[in-house]
């Protein structure tokens, strides 16, 4: 009997289904058009078709993982639920006031994001805790019930509750949530201490409100998808990816949909992590370049850097997520000359439709892809394995016209577009590396998405990175990542404690409680004891600061050793970031965290035999490529990725074409095909 793992990445245009046969280790990919009205249709159909096509009659699906943009799209398009809020007397306007800053320093026409719950549906009750959890005013059951009924009369589909200091003492929120559930039949109810039990009331409120806004949407979506999957013969408990790069069950996703808002890009990072793990590369900067934007992230010691806060479409969201930085730089990014006479690229994009000029679908503003086609780095006749005919001439004319404003030739303008977009992407990578105390030169660049491998060579040079690893299938790394993702649940508890002997019992209590909660989750998710893994950490700072550094908590029985370990870990992290420590200042712990992983069995990839350095069997063509360094066209060999064998070596300049991407190797760089058919590009000694 064939045992299959399925990953489905549902995007705006295509739904990618990735299958892994657990017995043979064979990967298969099935692509179909998405059904934007109800994405679950294409997902279930795609899964069924793929199983029929690749699995045979007796196929059994052992894992189903799914990455979705349902939550992201609902947030961006403002198509969430009709929600209401209950909060402290005197504070319903916190959602309007936010942190009191305006969105743009100089532009008088910029707007603040519209609050997801309008003011009339934000109700106040008399309740107040103090900073240490002392009860100042107990909420009255009668008043809460009256407010809940008011919300019911307003026909809300979802209700949120957020009180000051609920992260210290959640009892009052628990009570309000209970009454809301009693009074609002079938509505989605969510409380801030469950969504984000952390300090800073506005960010906690914002996250909770986003969760309420998305709750009914996610619930509706999953309730359509679940029976469809059953009909398609998938009986295993399905999983959905969350923004931290782990998966959760549908049940958890429908309680905490806010955790899936950045799930799309995070699966790509997991795909990169696993691709690296197979070949023993643990320090990676990921570079995912699509049509409108580029996502970058950093993986150190096989662990993606994470963050606990991001602003998504103007709304602060505080949940654990992979620290992915996005810039508006993609293949469709439009180049123009601004009022000061500088060449700019993006963030405006021609997207996938009409797309670049060379697609001939109606756009007449030059894009990054047009520049690559003009320089002939990209195939000037066809792309996507022949599915997309390319017309270079109109792209050339448009870039020539742009160049007239700069006093540059068409070719130098095209090269300039590439330099500017490379600089934009380099700035994004500096932000997640140098700014966080990591030297990019110590990392391997892993490009994926349609555009990553085209630009990786120049980007690596810009950053002084000497090694690039191009995965076998750069276009479907997200769907592949789904198959390799572990189950993950993040737990945290805020307990402000000094790092000294008096705190040891409280430290141990906090860690014990988190471990207990993790065990409960393991049980719920049916994770066997041999597949459980816990990573414990603490957010620490000098007493007096308000920004913490996340450092590992050593698992030590000896009290003094535990405190020493915490101090050493903090000092190391602090000094790396700020280049000094203040030994005379007290250190404190603010939040304890535990990441609970349910490890999934990773497929065993088989090594391919070395076929020797000669790549000539895969050489299919040659063409002239414009090199701005020498201001001339140089001849480059063109290779077919599908025909390359392990051990093959290619000297730049060269281009490797495959259906979903193009890899460009610069003069001075050498590409080698590794045992898993990844391409490793390294700088020569020059």
């Amino acid at each position: 009997m064939t045992s299959l793992r399925i990953g489905v990445d549902s995007g705006g245009t295509f739904t990618d289904v990735c299958l892994l046969d657990e017995t043979t280790g064979q990967f298969s990919v099935w692509k179909l058009s998405s059904t934007p009205q109800d994405p679950s249709e294409a997902i279930a159909n795609g899964a069924r078709e793929a199983v029929e096509r690749f699995g045979g009659d007796d196929a059994n699906v052992s894992f189903f993982g799914h990455g979705t943009t349902v939550a992201t799209n609902a947030l961006i398009q403002g198509r969430g639920a009709r929600a209401g809020l209950i909060t402290n007397d005197g504070f319903r306007d916190l959602l309007d006031l936010g942190r009191q800053t305006r969105p743009h320093l100089y532009d008088l026409q910029t707007d603040k994001p519209i609050p997801l719950i309008p003011r009339d549906r934000r109700l106040e009750v008399s309740e107040r805790l103090l900073y240490d959890g002392t009860v100042e005013r107990e909420p009255s059951e009668d008043e809460v019930r009256t407010m809940a009924r008011k919300l019911r009369d307003m026909d809300v589909e979802a209700a949120a509750v957020c009180f000051l200091y609920s992260f210290v003492s959640p009892a009052h929120e628990v009570m309000v949530a209970r009454i809301l559930e009693e009074e609002l039949d079938g509505a989605f109810v969510t409380a801030s201490h469950q969504v984000c039990p952390e300090f800073r009331e506005f960010e906690r409120l914002s996250t909770t409100v986003v969760n309420a806004f998305l709750g009914p949407v996610m619930k509706g979506y999953l309730s359509r998808l679940t029976p469809r999957l059953k009909d398609a013969g998938i009986t295993v408990q399905p999983h959905i990816t969350q923004s931290n790069g782990g998966t959760i069950t549908f049940e958890t996703a429908s309680t905490l949909p806010v955790r899936t808002v950045l799930s799309g890009p995070s699966t790509g990072v997991v795909g990169a992590l696993e691709t690296g793990r197979i070949v023993g590369v643990e320090d990676i900067i990921t570079f995912d370049m699509g049509g409108t934007s580029t996502d970058v992230s950093l993986i150190q010691n096989a662990r993606p850097e994470t963050t606990t806060e991001a602003i998504v479409h103007g709304y602060p969201i505080k949940v654990p997520m992979i620290d992915i930085h996005t810039v508006g730089a993609g293949g469709g990014s439009i180049a123009y000359v601004d009022s000061g006479g500088f060449l700019k690229v993006g963030p405006r994009s021609a997207g996938a439709a009409p797309g670049p000029i060379c697609y001939g679908l109606g756009n007449d503003e030059p894009t990054v892809t047009d520049a690559n086609v003009v320089m002939q780095i990209l195939n000037p006749k066809e792309l996507l394995g022949g599915r997309m005919p390319i017309d270079r001439d109109p792209a050339f004319r448009a870039i020539e016209k742009l160049g007239e404003k700069l006093g540059l030739s068409a070719l130098d303008t095209a090269a300039g577009i590439i330099r500017v977009v490379t600089a934009n992407m380099a700035r994004a990578i500096r932000l997640i590396s140098v700014q966080r105390g990591h030297d990019p030169r110590e990392y391997c660049l892993m490009p994926f998405g349609g555009g990553g491998p085209v630009h990786a060579g120049r980007l690596a040079r810009e950053l002084g990175m000497r090694r690039i690893l191009v995965p076998r299938n750069p276009g479907i790394l997200c769907a592949m990542g789904l198959l390799l993702t572990d189950l993950r649940h993040d737990l945290s508890v805020t307990r402000k404690l000094p790092v000294d002997a008096t705190s040891v019992p409280a430290i141990r209590d906090a860690m014990r409680a988190l471990r207990r909660d993790a065990d409960t989750w393991f049980e719920k998710e049916n994770v066997g004891s041999d597949r459980r893994r816990l990573v414990a950490s603490a957010d620490m700072r000098y007493a007096g600061q308000n920004y913490e550094l996340n450092v590992p908590v050593p698992d030590l029985d000896d009290d003094a050793a535990l405190l020493d370990g915490l101090t050493v870990n903090f000092n190391e992290a602090y000094s790396r970031l700020y280049d000094y420590t203040a030994p005379d200042e007290a250190i404190e712990i603010v939040t304890f965290r535990v990441e609970a992983y349910g490890l999934v069995e990773k497929p065993q990839f088989t090594e391919n035999a070395n076929a020797g350095a000669d790549a000539s069997a895969a050489a299919i063509d040659s063409r002239e490529i414009y090199m701005p360094e020498s201001s001339t066209f140089e001849t480059a060999h063109i290779f077919d990725r599908d025909r390359l064998q392990t051990g093959n070596r290619i000297e730049g300049p060269a281009v490797i074409e495959q259906m979903d991407s193009t890899t460009f190797i610069l003069p001075g760089q050498t590409a080698t095909v590794d045992a898993y058919h990844n391409i490793v590009i390294e700088e020569g000694d020059a």
């Binding site: 309007d96 800053t101 300039g416 330099r419 500017v420 920004y547 280049d579």
Partner: protein, 554 residues
């Protein structure tokens, strides 16, 4: 030699300029993050009342990070103040200067302490990494002249060759009311500069100083071109405006005036005939006026132009020395930001005649601030809590204003209630929008808000500063004025004198910040928007009925 000259004057290709421009911007941005994350005082770590700027060797602004526009006023003068006072040959690697004085230090008020580090590469001075942090200190002082306002620091070395000048530090700290915070925040300022110096040196290593020097020129020329292109879109002409300025520190109401001449791609702002400097902490020094004017013009011409010295070139602003807008020693300057906001109001008021679609109705026109200080019974230590409050942001030609934000020359964050109450013996009782404070109009002005704070101990010393109490943020083209600033105190609170007073345990005061003006006549407002504002209680039933003519049930 002729060859070298040619190389020196050759322009660098625009792409290289842009790449290096981005690199400089990211250095300044990263310095700002370092400063915020490593600091101790709530005013910096949560309210982000700080800024960073990279200068070239001669003190020209290469990039101002996007924090607080008025801080440019304190930063732009500092390098020239250092160079005036110190022989450049004696400035060495590892030196770090601090300064705050408005008359000798290039500053605009004493709490803003600037830290400036020279950047050396291969033995030559190539630039300056600078940052400014607003230290919430020097409280409960007089403001008749600057000697009363706090410790004046000319530009002097806090570090020499990387070594802390302990004598200097001791002197500074002794003059501060919360020395522990000052020391930690200064440490964060030092860390931010150290970071900036290292990154700038790495950039020199990569590109070489000769190329960078030419790029700096190009970056400034570029900003200048964009600014000129923006100014050229304003119709030529002379535009004048006047507005009232009052403040709770001042008994009289002053009138501010401007006369703006736009000719081609240049703009000249003449602030003649403004009131003489006052014996109150409301005076602006010249750099504060310039920073304010650059801000105001940029919003109208090109909000995205890179914030460097090139954009100053087509802008000329003059005010008579000794006037409140160009004060001379020893005028007091502590609360100059309220004055700055009114300068923006008059500049925008004048330009509304020229570009009515780009100008917005008057914003709240204030930096409403309050300081709470006393001995914290939980720790026994003296504390100072400073907050500045936003208000309404004026209505625009095609849309409503923004409710409850910081406007114009400042953009500090608030302090989370949960941060405030755990650090200080104070409690926030209400933090809510003020109904009807947005000027009515076809487009409604943004609302001001109320913030009520209760003292949890005796002898809590409070001082407040605000404007637009006796005047109102004006509407445009038929739009109504917005609501005014006022303070509400509990029964039993002794009357405040010149906006300063005492709270005893359990007593509270509430500050209500000004709203902002409306745009266009209210009769033209879409009735659905009136309905929405009524439903959301942003306007009262009376206003809906009397101003907008909506049939409202009682």
């Amino acid at each position: 030699m002729p060859d070298e000259t040619r190389i020196e004057t050759a322009t660098v290709d625009p792409v290289t300029v842009e790449v290096i421009g981005n690199a400089i911007a990211s250095i300044a941005d990263e310095m700002g993050e370092t400063l915020i994350r490593a600091s101790y005082s709530t005013n910096i770590k949560e309210r982000r009342d700080c800024s960073t700027v990279i200068f070239d060797a001669t003190g020209r602004t290469l990039y101002q990070a996007e924090h607080i526009p008025i801080h440019l006023g304190s930063l732009m003068g500092v390098v020239s103040a250092i160079l005036e006072r110190h022989d450049v040959s004696e400035i060495a690697e590892g030196d770090l200067f601090i300064g705050n004085d408005a008359y000798t230090g290039g500053g605009t008020h004493l709490p803003d302490i600037v830290a400036a580090s020279p950047i050396f590469y291969e033995g030559a001075l190539v630039g300056w990494a600078t940052n400014l942090a607003h230290h919430a200190d020097f409280v409960d002082r007089g403001h008749a002249h600057i000697y009363q306002e706090g410790l004046r620091i000319p530009p002097i070395r806090l570090q020499r060759g990387g070594e802390m000048q302990q004598d200097v530090l001791d002197l500074v700290l002794l003059n501060c009311q919360v020395p522990k915070e000052r020391q930690a925040d200064l440490r964060a300022q030092i860390a931010a500069n150290r970071f900036g110096v290292q990154r700038f040196q790495a950039m020199c290593e990569r590109y070489g100083v000769p190329l960078l020097t030419r790029v700096f020129d190009e970056l400034l020329d570029y900003a200048e071109r964009r600014m000129r292109a923006g100014i050229a879109t304003i119709p030529d002409g002379t535009y004048s405006f006047e507005d009232q300025f009052e403040c709770d520190e001042l008994e009289e109401i002053l009138t501010f005036r401007v006369r703006i001449e736009v000719k081609g791609d240049e703009i000249e702002l003449d602030f003649a005939n403004n009131p003489p400097q006052v014996r109150a902490g409301l005076n602006m020094v010249e750099t504060a006026l310039l920073a304010t004017v650059y801000y105001a013009v940029k919003t109208v011409t090109d909000p995205d132009a890179p914030p460097n010295a090139g954009l100053f070139r087509p802008i000329k602003a003059t005010a008579e020395p000794g006037s409140i807008l160009n004060a001379v020693s020893p005028a007091a300057v502590n609360g100059r930001t309220n004055t700055c906001q009114r300068v923006v109001d008059v500049v925008h008021g004048a330009l509304a005649q020229a570009v009515p679609d780009r100008i917005i109705a008057a914003c709240n026109g204030a930096v409403t601030s309050s300081t709470f200080s006393g001995v914290n019974p939980r720790t026994g230590n003296f504390y100072v809590y400073l907050e500045t409050l936003g208000g309404g942001f004026g209505a625009r030609a095609t849309k409503d204003g923004l409710d409850g934000v910081q406007v114009h020359i400042t953009n500090t964050s608030n302090l989370p209630v949960e941060g405030l109450e755990s650090e200080y013996p104070l409690r926030v009782e209400r933090y809510e929008l003020e109904r009807d404070s947005g000027g009515d109009g076809k487009w409604r002005g943004g609302l001001g808000f109320r913030r009520q704070i209760r003292s949890l101990h005796d002898e809590c010393r409070v001082s407040m500063r605000g404007t637009r109490a006796r005047s109102a943020p004006w509407g445009l083209f038929g739009g109504h004025d917005g609501g005014s600033y006022h303070v509400e105190s509990d029964d039993g609170v002794a009357p405040f004198k010149l906006s300063a007073g005492l709270l005893m345990e359990g007593q509270s005061i509430a500050i209500v910040t000004p709203g902002s003006g409306g745009y266009g006549p209210p009769e033209e407002r879409d009735p659905e928007l009136v309905q929405r504002d009524l439903r959301e209680d942003r306007i009262s039933p009376d206003v809906a009925r009397d101003v907008y003519g909506l049939a409202v049930e009682d």
